[in-house]
């Protein structure tokens, strides 16, 4: 009926083989990268931002800029983490080995983002409490962060073993935290701004991909 169910020409077969070969090569390279290196690489932007903030590289108002940069990296890592499963399923790319590092670093950036807000930005304890209760975008952001706490705490081999099948269920909280994180960004934007909506769209899209029935993905992967 459709093109991909028809007999394959030798040309498309060749392209397919080439692609599979490329993916295999990438996977082989990825296997050789030690995970500790991923932790180090993902952590590097934080001291760099701090250095920029202290030396004028983030402009004349570095507190807000630093807060924003850390929050953006946290969101980017959450998006990156959510691409691991679809990339495996639809492209055969094997990033699972790094998923824990990505997740833990996303938590670390969210924690630094929160810390900058508490210590450098708001400063005043009574105002912090007032903001947490009265400002929905802050409540939503904090809720997202709190959901990440049990996930970070159980991101180790002992917990995986101990929790068994419950671990998977628990770690689906990532999906809720991701949506809350993006919603937090959308809610704090003034006027109609594109960037926060792109994050929300990406996250919703990546979550929607997980709902595609298995049979369809297999057929498309064969095509």
């Amino acid at each position: 009926m459709t093109a991909w169910t028809c007999r394959k020409t030798s040309k498309s077969d060749a392209i397919r083989k080439e692609l599979l070969f490329m993916v295999d090569q990438i996977n082989a390279t990825l296997r050789r990268i030690p995970t500790w290196l991923v932790y180090v690489l993902l952590l590097l932007p934080a001291p760099y931002f701090l250095y920029l903030g202290a030396t004028g590289g983030l402009g004349v108002e570095p507190i807000n800029a630093l807060e924003r940069k850390l929050g953006e990296v946290a969101l980017q890592l959450i998006v990156f983490g959510l691409t691991v499963t679809p990339l495996k399923r639809w492209a055969g790319l094997n990033l699972q080995k790094f998923r824990r590092a990505i997740g833990i670093m996303a938590f670390a950036y969210a924690a630094m983002h929160l810390l900058v807000w508490l210590v450098l930005d708001v400063q005043i304890l009574s105002q912090i409490f007032a903001d947490l209760v009265k400002r929905p975008y802050i409540t939503v952001g904090l809720a997202g962060f709190l959901l990440l706490v049990p996930l970070a705490l159980t991101s180790n081999n002992v917990s995986v073993k101990k929790l068994g099948p419950k671990w998977r269920v628990l770690h689906r909280l990532t999906y809720v935290a991701a949506i809350l994180g993006a919603a937090h960004y959308v809610m704090l934007a003034k006027g109609f701004q594109i960037e926060p909506l792109i994050y929300l769209g990406l996250i919703l899209g990546l979550l929607a991909l997980r709902r595609v029935p298995k049979s369809k993905s297999r057929r498309r992967a064969v095509a």
Partner: protein, 300 residues
Amino acid sequence: MAFRWTNDLRPEDVTPEAVFMNRRQLIGGLAAGTILGSTGMAQAQEALEPNSWEDITTYCNFYEFGTGKDDPAKYASSLVTDPWSVTIDGLVDRPGDYSLGDILSQMTVEERLYRFRCVEAWSMVVPWNGFELADLLELAGVQSGAKYVAFETAYRPKEMPGTLFPVLDWPYVEGLRLDEAMHPLTIMATGLYGKPLPNQNGAPLRLVVPWKYGFKSIKSVVKITLTDTQPPTSWNKANPREYGFYSNVNPNVDHPRWSQASERAIGGGLFARRKPTLMYNGYEEEVAGLYDGMDLSKNF
């Protein structure tokens, strides 16, 4: 009508002003009178120091050039400010297009060192050069039926990359009540530090209303209309729950998404402390009378 207001931020004025404010607030029976008074003193002293040229010209909100604070400094050079003319119409005796040169030849430009408080809870101190809006309105001849003044920013998509996105309903519009517009503190700025106004700060001609949140001080003005009805304003149209027509600086009425009780002075670096925000941004003495009897939490 120029020089109707002189700078109250000179060193010799600091103590008397603060003491005066303190006394006034006590008499006024404000609950937090003494606290406000003492913070007023602290702020008046701090506010003596204008922000640097770099602070004022690299940290701007001018969404026509992008929503990032550094976007206007990067992209506003594309705005053509010469020639420039302002259309003054509505309830005036002499409506028409006034060329900037024509206007300036009849205005007295003076220096005004003003506090500037953004609705986003940051603040600066800016040494403006400009003339009183009242003088410009007089030039056009305000008719007796006029009650409000509407302003409009230039809308030129080819020169303003930010307007390609519907962040706001372009062109940017603002408005004042006529008595606010005629107030001695209200100026049309043409310069900073004695130099021509940089494009990112609203060249060649912008409104400055120091007791209101910064977004009221509309930039790169091309049109001024005198009306008898309250004109629409951009942020109020975008989100009426968060931005009112008046938008007077008021530490007691929070923006729904953040507190307005305190502010961060730009230029303090990574460890800058917040300081309390003053009623009417420190111009209570001069402007409180404009709002006598009004419920400020309703008319925010």
